[in-house]
Symmetry: C2
Subunit: 434 residues, 2 copies
């Protein structure tokens, strides 16, 4: 990236799709990114920056001249502009906003005022609204004559004189109809719409359920203020799935592939610390039975098997429960049925693994009774795991905690403690240890 | 659901959105579902059945009269019809197809011939194609005069006389342009398109990356054969995220919330059996050190802590790796950097937890040296976990196995075995046990 190559760079940058341009930015060394953008200037499509990792984008926006960013932001649809600016420090944000013309600045500031993850943040404020008493011909002529239409649109909206929402007209309906037809005949008044304060997850679920491509966003007075399109929703769906998956694996959702090792190590430390504490709790159960372990060392060798099998069964149940809660498939109507079903699954697999583990343990240590002891413990722990795996996420959801984040720790603590306690307790009674 | 209520039922069923109708079907008792559909007949929108769980749909389609299903299928877009029929037994499928008019049957059979999960299965064969030498006016008139247009569409396609793909024209471009403008001026020839044999995951990634709403599907001769729309892609994205999440939790992707306990217990058994085998492998390492455990029972109490902490750190790394592989963010270009980074993360957190665990273990058992032994073991196991967590998914991906399904078992086996071996091995050397 050198000044001499400017013309060549401009050509490349101008031709690339924003997504590929984003890939290019990420592939460059960190100190070449800002010069590339400064050199290519107006040819650089700033929406490409929404395609790169958050950390890369934020660093870059702080490095660039506020004038350059402001120029780039002016070319964007409002939703892309908000996405670009919402992550950067307030100071840098203000510097950039100051360079914008007043009307654009006010519009962006209003969007940024909506709560994080709300529909207001995700919507674009460019949309086409027309009076309901127009005809198809008038609407088409209006679109042909207005130079400053949104970049892409899939439907237009009918509003009254106070900009209140009346209904949606999809473009294909408009194209099928003849010019003299009144818009009132084409309008879909039942079209699902979004409130500006709705959470983006709710919006994504609605899009998924009703197969929407765009949805109008209205304020509390039912005035049309924006539109959310499917491309933003696809990002939300992917983010949410990603968050759940990472949370279940004990990784915070803001960890990114471009982070350095130090940031990542710090981010993962907290979760590991919590788990270390629970591991000590589980081991303290083993500590209660120190004498028995010394008398019969086979118990020390086999105890982790009981705990691990319970933990794995519980993780299966928990995974299904967390996902079903996130998609609202698991709800108060079917909760009891699912809890009973998981309990039965735990019982059946408990019985199956009681037999298998019992035979294996006896074959290994040749101690009469050891197979029965481990079998009984296995049944207890798989039932405990099944019930813990379903009930803990449900309780967390009820108390408004994120089941995906916190369930794992609680659930494996339950199976470790119950597993160790059941196995060593039953062994103590069976073999008369003390 | 009784014959007497038919008129009332028809009204409800006719008014509901397909997604809500699907919810209604799922909420009904299994023996009331078929009668509801038979009674309401033509008022029942069969696309509702694509909104219910696979098992519910398949049972229902086998129960219904083939004539009823054939009538319903005729009303659907081809992609919905394929989705409805692809899960049912071949026999039932043939019975239903036989009741369809020849042309529709042939079209459906052709779609069902494409490989499962291919673009050919997901596409709809209803689309609008026009000659490139038409004007905007001709295209609009064509749409106004053709009664049998697709239900919804977002763009039309220009083709040559052999139906070969020439380019796409979005509806908004069409509405902005004046009637005499030639379509050739509006056509986007670079529009990304899909081959009929492409995998649906690839298609979904393309939609996500390039923010598409629809994509044309072409055959090997570049002839336009269908179109894939974003609503189908959203389903694919959700399915894929769901599969990865369930796979990491040890649950097969075909498990559904409506399954009974017996089906579920059987489905989860295999994974638990594999994990039991690995738990025995890990415990056999403990078995090697039976004498040492007996001499120093604190080792038996603490060993699970080393194994569990390694397992959790490895799961963090593995979760990130599996997700990054699935989204193609982790690729040969950055693989080495990420492996080194994860190794460093393992080292840093290994050192941190060596200190914490060492102090805690010494405080608990007051045995001099025990803290150093468990600390050293912790460092070994967190590094092993980090490297296992990143390398195992990468190797599985390379050998074309699904990293999400198989990684977990291998990774925790590594951390259990390394954890037990490092801790007891170091303890044996340090304390001179035998």
């Amino acid at each position: 990236v050198q000044v001499a190559d400017t013309a060549f760079l401009k050509e490349i940058v101008g031709e690339l799709h924003e997504a590929d341009l984003g890939d290019l930015i990420e592939a460059l060394d960190a100190d070449e990114r800002a010069p590339l953008i400064e050199l290519t200037g107006a040819d650089f499509d700033f929406s490409a920056l929404n395609e790169v990792d958050d950390t890369v984008r934020e660093e870059l926006l702080e490095e660039l001249e506020p004038e350059t960013v402001a120029e780039g932001v002016r070319e964007l649809d409002s939703d892309d502009a908000v996405e670009l600016l919402e992550g950067v420090d307030e100071e840098v944000q203000d510097e950039i906003l100051e360079k914008l013309p007043l009307s654009e600045r006010v519009a962006l500031e209003r969007s940024l005022d909506y709560p994080e993850n709300s529909a207001g943040r995700r919507m674009q404020t460019e949309f086409i609204s027309v009076p309901q008493d127009w005809t198809v011909g008038q609407a088409i002529d209006y679109m042909r004559e207005t130079p400053d239409l949104p970049e892409r649109f899939y439907e237009i909206y009918a509003v009254d004189q106070w900009q209140r929402w009346q209904g949606a007209i999809s473009l294909d309906a408009l194209l099928r109809a003849r010019r003299p037809v009144s818009l009132a005949d084409l309008v879909d008044e039942d079209r699902r719409r979004v409130s500006v304060v709705d959470d983006q997850e709710e919006v994504a679920r609605m899009f998924g359920k009703y197969n929407l491509v765009a949805a109008p966003v209205v304020d509390i007075d039912n005035r049309l203020v924006g539109v959310i399109t499917i491309d933003d929703v696809v990002d939300v769906i992917e983010e949410e799935a990603d968050e759940d998956l990472k949370a279940l694996g004990g990784v915070t959702s803001d960890e990114e592939l471009s982070d350095n090792f130090w940031t990542i190590a710090k981010g993962r430390f907290a979760w590991l610390l919590v788990n270390l504490a629970t591991a000590f709790i589980a081991s303290s159960v083993l500590g209660l039975f120190e004498d028995q372990l010394q008398q019969m060392v086979a118990l020390a060798v086999l105890a982790p098997i009981v705990a691990s099998q319970g933990g794995n069964a519980a993780t299966q149940t928990m995974t299904v429960a967390v996902r079903a809660l996130a998609t609202r498939q698991l709800n108060p109507n079917n909760a009891l049925r699912i809890v009973i079903r998981e309990g039965l699954v735990g019982l059946i697999n408990g019985l199956a693994f009681a037999v298998i583990t019992g035979i294996a343990a006896y074959a290994w240590f040749k101690t009469p009774g050891l197979g029965i002891v481990i079998g009984l413990a296995m049944i207890c722990n798989l039932i405990a795991g099944a019930l813990g795996g379903i009930l803990i996420p449900m309780v967390l959801e009820r108390v408004k905690a994120d089941p995906a984040v916190a369930s794992g720790t609680f659930v494996t603590t339950v199976t470790d403690v119950v597993g160790f306690f059941a196995f060593l307790g039953i062994a103590t009674l069976w073999f008369g240890l003390k």
